[in-house]
Point group: D2
Chain length 439, copies 4
Amino acid sequence: MIFSGAYARGRAQEQLSDRAFVTAMLDVEVALARALARAGLASVAAAEELASACADASSFDVEAIGATVAANGTPVPGLLAAIRDRVSAEAGAALHRGATSQDVVDTAIMLLARRALEPVIADLTGACHACAELARRHRDAVMAGRTLLQQAAPITFGLKAAVWLDGLASVRGELVSVCVEVLALQFGGAVGTLAVLDERGLDVGAELARELGLVQPPMPWHTIRVRPARLAGSLGTALGTMAKVARDVTLLAQTEVAEASEQAGAGRGGSSTMPHKRNPVGAIAVLACAQRGPGLVAAVLGAMVQEHERAAGAWQGESGALLELLSLTGSAAASLREALELLEVDPARMRENVDELVMAESVVTALGGGAAANKIVQAAVRAAWNERRPLRDVLFEQPEVAARLGGDGLERALDPAAYLGVAGQLIDRTVAAFEQGQR
Amino acid sequence: MIFSGAYARGRAQEQLSDRAFVTAMLDVEVALARALARAGLASVAAAEELASACADASSFDVEAIGATVAANGTPVPGLLAAIRDRVSAEAGAALHRGATSQDVVDTAIMLLARRALEPVIADLTGACHACAELARRHRDAVMAGRTLLQQAAPITFGLKAAVWLDGLASVRGELVSVCVEVLALQFGGAVGTLAVLDERGLDVGAELARELGLVQPPMPWHTIRVRPARLAGSLGTALGTMAKVARDVTLLAQTEVAEASEQAGAGRGGSSTMPHKRNPVGAIAVLACAQRGPGLVAAVLGAMVQEHERAAGAWQGESGALLELLSLTGSAAASLREALELLEVDPARMRENVDELVMAESVVTALGGGAAANKIVQAAVRAAWNERRPLRDVLFEQPEVAARLGGDGLERALDPAAYLGVAGQLIDRTVAAFEQGQR
Amino acid sequence: MIFSGAYARGRAQEQLSDRAFVTAMLDVEVALARALARAGLASVAAAEELASACADASSFDVEAIGATVAANGTPVPGLLAAIRDRVSAEAGAALHRGATSQDVVDTAIMLLARRALEPVIADLTGACHACAELARRHRDAVMAGRTLLQQAAPITFGLKAAVWLDGLASVRGELVSVCVEVLALQFGGAVGTLAVLDERGLDVGAELARELGLVQPPMPWHTIRVRPARLAGSLGTALGTMAKVARDVTLLAQTEVAEASEQAGAGRGGSSTMPHKRNPVGAIAVLACAQRGPGLVAAVLGAMVQEHERAAGAWQGESGALLELLSLTGSAAASLREALELLEVDPARMRENVDELVMAESVVTALGGGAAANKIVQAAVRAAWNERRPLRDVLFEQPEVAARLGGDGLERALDPAAYLGVAGQLIDRTVAAFEQGQR
Amino acid sequence: MIFSGAYARGRAQEQLSDRAFVTAMLDVEVALARALARAGLASVAAAEELASACADASSFDVEAIGATVAANGTPVPGLLAAIRDRVSAEAGAALHRGATSQDVVDTAIMLLARRALEPVIADLTGACHACAELARRHRDAVMAGRTLLQQAAPITFGLKAAVWLDGLASVRGELVSVCVEVLALQFGGAVGTLAVLDERGLDVGAELARELGLVQPPMPWHTIRVRPARLAGSLGTALGTMAKVARDVTLLAQTEVAEASEQAGAGRGGSSTMPHKRNPVGAIAVLACAQRGPGLVAAVLGAMVQEHERAAGAWQGESGALLELLSLTGSAAASLREALELLEVDPARMRENVDELVMAESVVTALGGGAAANKIVQAAVRAAWNERRPLRDVLFEQPEVAARLGGDGLERALDPAAYLGVAGQLIDRTVAAFEQGQR
């Protein structure tokens, strides 16, 4: 679709094409042939004949293989037939020995996931660096902290960027773990016993896992779909976290707020008649991708209820959802990274936007807290709001305030920059932890 | 994806390609030009120049248009530029007048939906006819009714097929209504006021709706997504209903049940070494498609929360989910129709499979019901189960049973064919209602 | 949960308690006894004895019945035992005759749905009236139309309120239809044949439907879950539409926008130290409820794949999701109605917030459109933006603008109130259609 | 609801009541007071006064607190008012110092999750032990392996049980990790700066985390919802895995298969008139709970898109979904454990059910594989199927088979027990790993 095309951005997409899928299946078949040879169950010559016949994935007709899927329910028989057409009978006999179609498809999807996650992780790393840079540069840029979309108390833009960094670094780390721990070989034969290989199945599996650089799991997982579920869950969590950051960007970019915008580059998010319009197109693309996440994760989880040794429908429905999730995560990561790298922040506007009423809590604290202080400030805030007068003027008219704080004390209590608690500490340690590679 | 390729079956797919999407957008632009001309807001010459420039959709470069989406967030500016390259300045000025990109995309998707639903409805009609035929042919074929996957009481295969027909006819009817009532024109301009057309916007909209054969809604629905939600809900309901039928087919096809199978045609669902294996590939494809339904409907519903006059992300994320739903529904309908048309039923095996214990309730009724009758039958059933003896023998040893029913009466009470209640009535009226076009 | 307690608002909740559920099941059993009596299959005395034994639902021990559910998988056997304890043997024999547990539970849930939808529809009607009133009162109140969270072109608040009305009236109408067409009797006995009633099942069903005021469906729908799916879809669509309105309210209530707020009543959404803070608590409650909608609809759709004559798990998992959806829709409707009835709008602030740059498109139109006009205005807008000068001043320095429009013409072209297209027409007809009961 | 009541099983439920939620919030407030005291920001006397005022959670009026939620959007202000009523002004001033409502609610939910997960993990451990026992006992019990619901090749019931163990041990381990790594303190004050505590916020947070035994996160996670998302994902994965096991149990328990049943205890899953009916009620309860999982995980993921420093709606909607997920996982684990502990396996029936045609692949292998062997066996299988004769007889008529294998060799090739590959190895190492605590 031209529209998914719109959001199919970033290098991950290349790893998720039909061509890439065929390549991954070929990689599995070749690795299996070599594993069999190493276990003495096929000749080295047969394995190498298969390897060279499969070396050029672009020589296989992806559409023709696709056309065989409806009758078989999987692309593997079609692929095997295409390979057998190219090799000797001996090599053909060694091909796919011991495996079932699902072994090849599941393992190929694990390979695709690993290949697609590499650029995803790179883009998330880039997005983290952009946040770290924003956090450092604007460490002390005071702005309104907002709760329930209302100004509540002051923060710094550095803190906001560090919160983003915290979230993005966390999901980035999770995806790195997924690559190492979750992505695994599938190899069990028709019903998980590898009976065709007699008692040598686990040895061949070990060689095959080594060949492909994947974990050898303790048990085939044909109908135990914990691995796809974890992959999906991590992708969904990454999409949700990226969307939080993107949501903040779109809110900061509102005409009435105007505290940040994606730098309008050549034709980016602009409008021919409205140069003031700087649509945050990167952030919007992230939000559009993330919109799809929860439903796709639900599809993968819903597909876990698989019958007996291999499932009738649920397995066949899972792969599309997983690959779509990988594609959307890739698009979102590429878009977010770009949006953050281009983010233009207006600290002056941030400071201007801070409503002085957000300092009420601070004045109460300065007055020593407690019911009495609270009452004075409440009355003053209400008067300032109703009469549209500056809060400081109203407060200074209160004898107790004047007496207790004096002009300077009141000024200090009303200064947002002096009411930031541990914002600086949080920023510094979050940025440092990321940059020192601890996250 | 080669895998979605696998399930992208049926004629609906042709209506959901990038090419079809560009065609639909061109249709909208041409219809708008003609509507403007009819309202006196453009010249007939300009409208007809546009119409001929857009007549051959295949002359537009779909990939090039797709490449413009990332920067603009929609394919419309890229498409407009391609059209303007082909026409005079006057025609170019009339092009797209009054509309916003979302008007074109939303309306194009409505057109695609209508075009894709046509073959979907045809396939559902075919599936209904297949069920009606099965219901009629096997009206009196006794089989076990099963609850909680346990045999419970007798039914006929005719009743099962009529229940399938009831469900499929219902969702078929709902999709027909959707075409007529839900699919509507979108036309509101930038913020829903059609300000560019001054006070003539609604007149142009009326002409445009007529031109496209779509409902003119009372109000633009840029951010009121009830129409997409209804379309999605109906598609999701159709998928779920088809999956219920498919689930029954896979259960009946189990080796141990063997009451029905998808007729193994040339290579269909077969296995080279296991000719006894008749994988119900059509039913499995339906189940695989349906696995994706709930999550996609959730995505469309989740995208309803759209900001102000046009949304930042939610709208952009909705279309992919809608089109995927249409594609899956199309595949499922094509697969289910084929599976039902090929369904081979084994009434003898059905009768054999009926466990005589399912007649216990019938014997209680024959004995006049009540606590005493119940107690007698319970004891007999338990004895038959424990001693693995025929229930009739155990029952006949009971003096009260022999006295009250006699041999013939007991035989009758144990005859599943005599304990079918209104099964025949339900079948007849369901088949008749469908065939008389009342559903 | 104390939290769902928080959002369990409105009168619908009373219809969704355990007590209400027991009441509904009693209503079904009593109606069945009367239907049997009317069909001559039970004595009137037995039916009336059952009716009086069940008349006081509060005399049944809900917790005790609940405690029987785990062993049976349904509350019906426990309920029947409790009724039989109260009646004669004859009445006990008539009780539940012909029905299966699922008949009672499904029908009871349909009754609950109808009872809960009544206040939901009333609250939606109230919310529609509030919108109509807002639309009429602020018909000409100019404000910024916003797309992608950026100001785009002028609208009126009346139009925004009319758009809300359009959406709410639409989902209100859909729920009315659901009550009439979707909510139906379930009555099929163990496997759908009503065999216990021999050939009289459909007659009894007709009486039973009449007794309960529900549709008699053409076929039992034990495993064809189109009705629950439609109910769920309509509730999900209603939640999504309400959330769109609520989202707009929260955005308008932002400190920096301040165009509307939920009138802060006694302690409502206020904060002791921050009287300027007027948290839109009603709108937030709507958004919180709606957050749950898509996943619950997905659960109901996912539960459609039910085996054979009655399902093993999917049916049992469906009811909780349906009742939760009803409860959330009830809460959301009550909260939204209140929020809209309390909505305080600030038309002066709306007008002030309109950025003059949104009039660029209007000036182009006034200059006659086309490439030349476009170029002039683009340059002017860019200059105004960069130099932070009023657009009108920059434009008036352009000889062509001055010559062509003059001061008055330019003033008119820059007047948002003169660039509203069909906003007034749309408002008037939407309000009129609603108030004349056409929607 | 009486129905959720039905599925609200196991000890986890006690930890998820309103009462338990109030208790957890009280625990947070007391721990905070002590942390403040330890940091020198409150007196030890005040902290201990608060601790004794809150010691008896049952003395708080849960309903009254619940009634305050609608106005405030959270139960915390109502709870604080109830505590302040009981303590001196000094203690009242120390109460909740530095915290915001969301700090208390989020942390309380983390405590509830930890408390509810303890029995969940215990039940999963019990279920694992039951699987290990089944795997060991039936290590060599041959049965049909089934793919796409068709018999495919032999396995043992030991292998099936070991596959279940593999899945359950994996999700059990994941939930243990969640308790240790994911469940964390929330403490950030109004906007994450802890400004009320000046620069001491992180010190107080460290003490508070220690007091509660929770991780102190690097940053408040008010709007970074990775932790709730991970918790939800793990619960959803656990539900899906349990449902796979339960699905297998219901399929094995089918009347026509009858290889396993949940031992019908006193009234468990039985039917008064059908003693042959042994409804697998435990497995069905698991499936019913799992039906809700994907949609609830989707709700939590969909709620990740939270605005600025604290969210308007998404946060408020998340907690209900999380607590529901915990409750359903608790019910499912309790039901599954019971079902597996009661599982009655019929190895004789398993062996009987094996269709000899599943040995075709084995004969091909015995004949040396390759095209010729394949062709012979194919023809024989087809003949056996069509003529309903024993495969061995047909094969033995083939001269090549007789010559090559002889009677004994053919017998061996047709023996399912001799064609089990690495089944035994997989069972042994999976059981050993679990029992040695490596999983």
